[in-house]
Amino acid sequence: MSLVGYTLAIFVIVAALATAMFRDVLSAIIVFGAYSLGMAILYTLLLAPDVAMTEAAIGAGVTTILLLLTIAKTTRPTTDRLFESIDVPALFVVGAFVVVLGTQVLPEMYAVGDSEAPVWSNPEVTQAYLEQTYEDTGVQNAVTAVLAAYRGFDTFGEAVVVFAAGIATLLVLKREVFA
């Protein structure tokens, strides 16, 4: 990763910590939006523009707006303290989790673009999609082809889940109109 990548990674981690630490909910939501935007740019650097666009639109956009709407319906406790007080046992558990993940899982992960990574070491799978997508489906974006054609039934399930989420929200709020 480049210098920009490391800077973004640090920014994202700081934003995530700030989201957890800020006492004021409004500040936490705004920092959370910044975190999502940082993640979106990070995904772009990692050459995953499709994921980046989803993160920017849903993570930074819709989620922030919905959270803002939600706290607008609550009261906002006035406080002078900037940060939440730290719960030591919780910090210990989370810290232990981070240490275990950092020492056991991270060293096992492949570097970005490593030719030994499974995605490259199975060329008969990966290359087959990249080479045959245009011939099979007539579209150039292999991600779209996988989502809409090769795994179309999965995508159908996802679309229905989104539909069900909308219906469930209306049910919980006891509303009968969509807008």
Partner: protein, 174 residues
């Protein structure tokens, strides 16, 4: 209801010239970009999920600038219902059409081999992307926004004007 943010209907609208002007300028571009992403997702990064979300967010921006209640009245419920329900129906319809043509669910190439539509696979995918997923996602994003904004105020079509007192009635129904 009523805390520091809360007002009538939970709508905390204050007219701001800056937000109004900014949204008036930006909204046409976000709508165009969302539609571009949806329609062009087959050949460039993006796709109907992202594009549909951006189309939905455009309406959310309008609600932020012009107030939630005026935007809610401008939006017709039937439009959102047909977006969400119609999207699911189109997706199922395309899938069942390929079964009717003698294949399996979403076996697009039958549109070419049986019906003779050139690039049948591509057009089948575009149909579920543009006509299915984009409509569902845009509609559900708008639904989530307006449902959350209304919260427990039971704004049904036949509701009486006394929404302020109705809040407690709904809770005591349980």
């Amino acid at each position: 209801m009523g805390g520091r943010y809360g007002g009538e209907h939970g709508d905390t609208y204050t007219e701001s010239q800056v937000i109004l002007t900014a949204v008036k300028i930006i909204a046409p571009f976000t709508l165009t970009y969302g539609m571009f992403m949806t329609l062009h997702g087959a050949d460039t990064p993006g796709g109907s999920f992202q594009g549909g979300a951006i189309i939905g967010v455009t309406v959310l921006m309008l609600a932020f600038a012009f107030g939630i209640e005026p935007t809610r009245q401008w939006l017709k419920n039937s439009v959102i219902v047909s977006m969400v329900g119609g999207g699911v129906a189109i997706f199922i319809g395309v899938g069942l059409a390929t079964i009717a043509l003698g294949g399996s669910f979403l076996e697009y190439r039958l549109f070419f081999t049986v019906l003779g539509i050139p690039d049948g696979t591509k057009w089948g995918m575009e149909a579920i992307e543009v006509g299915g997923i984009a409509l569902i996602v845009a509609g559900v994003v708008i639904t989530l926004f307006f449902a959350t904004a209304a919260g427990f105020t039971p704004a049904r079509y036949r509701s009486t004007p006394e929404v302020e007192t109705a809040d407690d009635e709904v809770l005591s129904d349980d």
